[in-house]
């Protein structure tokens, strides 16, 4: 099982914990990941808010690199995953966009490189039976609120990731790990995404709603698969507490960090030390499988 792994820019900075845990989990499960040489930014939200052709050409520059490797692309960052799939869709359904991309890249691209999210690779290619067999430790009933956010599930007709209103893929992984995945209403609510710096007030308000609901549902932690969700819920928790006078202390962990723990990998290698709200309750709960 071999994929061209596109880490995305945050992997080198605010989401280095996501990157570390992705690599560690892949190694433990025998997934071979190769980074495309010279990969570049997907353009993110700023790209598509500014120019349609720019928003398609930036991902296409990476998709063509992967095409040359004759591999499928695997992405863990929900935002990059979204932009890659939307770019493929735009290029294959609009000849004018395809022509514009050809001019920008000096090369034709038909939008055919397959793009998978890591969670899809885990569930569809590796499969839950193999994952379950590889587990050394259990989440031991840890109550996890799985939070999907926006970019993993929308737009559903292009991403085809999961049910856009009540996705279950992260929950399936948590259940397989021996955790208790919670039924809660904020799975696909928006945290404010890319407005973190430009409209911090909006992010604080939206993220508080999500954290409040997770706590009210009895969650020990929130599991995410998007670097923007992680940063907004984790890093902004302090601001939320300051502005609301509340005292939330709920860890926001990547699903790959939880899976890594259960595969027997140490918390240091999984980047647990990088979380702003410490996940000590999670680490204490995880036990060897009976």
């Amino acid at each position: 099982m071999k994929y061209a792994y596109y880490p995305g820019c945050s992997a080198e900075s605010t989401a280095s914990d996501m990157h570390q845990s992705t690599l560690a989990v892949a190694r433990a499960l025998g997934i071979d990941l190769v980074e495309p040489k010279g990969w570049t930014c997907c353009g993110a939200t700023a790209g598509h808010q500014t120019d349609r052709l720019l928003a398609v050409s930036l991902p296409a520059a990476n998709l063509t690199k992967v095409q040359d490797m004759k591999l499928d692309m695997m992405v863990n960052c929900a935002a990059c995953y979204n932009r890659m799939k939307v770019a493929n869709h735009e290029i294959s359904s609009h000849p004018a966009i395809r022509k514009g991309v050809r001019d920008a890249l000096d090369r034709d691209y038909d939008g055919s490189v397959k793009v998978h999210h890591l969670v899809e690779v885990l569930l569809q290619d590796v499969g839950l039976p193999t994952i379950t067999k590889s587990l050394k430790r259990s989440l031991n009933g840890l109550k996890v609120a799985c939070y999907y956010g926006c970019l993993l599930v929308r737009p559903p007709e292009i991403l085809k990731f999961d049910d856009p209103e009540n996705p279950k893929s992260l929950d399936q992984l948590v259940t397989a790990m021996g955790g208790k995945s919670l039924d809660w209403p904020c799975k696909v609510e928006c945290c404010g995404g890319g407005l973190s710096l430009s409209r911090t007030d909006v992010v604080v308000q939206l993220s508080e709603g999500i954290i409040e609901m997770a706590c009210a549902s009895g969650a020990d932690c929130i599991a995410v698969s998007c670097p923007m969700c992680q940063v907004n819920l984790d890093l902004r928790q302090q601001d939320i507490n300051k502005q609301t006078g509340k005292n939330y202390q709920i860890p926001i962990v990547y699903i790959t960090q939880l899976l890594g723990l259960c595969l027997g990998i140490g918390p240091g290698e999984l980047g647990f030390n990088k979380l702003m709200v410490p996940a000590s309750n999670v680490l204490e709960k995880v036990h060897e499988r009976a």
């Binding site: 820019c9 945050s10 930014c41 993110a44 808010q49 520059a61 514009g100 929308r154 710096l197």
Partner: protein, 188 residues
């Protein structure tokens, strides 16, 4: 009820939005599902369904100064839930691009400045560079020290990279930016 002054109507904005977004605004029957699901509607003066209606009625460029355009987080709940399959998020993207092109006033916050700073680091380094982006953005807002209290802890934890990214194919990215600027000048 949404009304529009007669002398203020123009087809130009509706046509430009439909061309940029590929959306047929006339199929909207104002069920307001986009507004009920919108996470930021409560924080803006204008709701998505109202934007759709005003566009359809022939609103002019004054609509480009609506606060919703820049508080929209592009979560795409509206597009996902629209019973007529209208890509409302694409309409919002089109309105943002037109607002930039036509120099419309930006209400609260400074999302265009943030987007420019973000894309500038991408154009320069091939990948986004958070510290460069944050500095450029804060210099632009004139509030350099605002919201920087977390920096020491983030640096210590390795939660943010100090140095600019290396290893990205800068040549290709520079070409993309240059080609897109060129295609805009030929059109104009």
């Amino acid at each position: 009820m949404i009304t529009i002054k007669k002398n203020k109507t123009s087809r130009a904005l509706k046509d430009a939005v439909e061309l940029l977004s590929g959306v047929d605004l006339s199929v909207c029957f104002q069920c307001k599902k986009c507004s009920s699901g919108c996470p930021v509607a409560k924080l803006a003066k204008t709701r998505p369904s109202e934007i759709m209606r005003r566009l359809h009625l022939g609103a002019g460029d004054e609509l480009l100064a609506s606060d919703l355009i820049w508080v929209c987080a592009s979560c795409e709940t509206c597009s996902t839930r629209c019973p007529m399959g209208i890509d409302v998020a694409a309409v919002m993207d089109a309105l943002r691009r037109l607002a930039l092109e036509r120099g419309a006033a930006t209400p609260k916050g400074n999302v265009p400045l943030f987007n420019r700073a973000f894309l500038k680091t991408v154009e320069t380094f091939g990948r986004s560079y958070e510290i460069g982006l944050i500095t450029a953005y804060k210099l632009g807002t004139g509030k350099l020290m605002n919201d920087t209290g977390k920096f020491p802890a983030m640096l210590k934890k390795g939660k943010i990279a100090l140095l600019p990214p290396r290893g990205g194919d800068r040549k290709t990215v520079k070409r993309i930016f240059r080609k897109i600027k060129e295609s805009k000048t030929t059109k104009a």
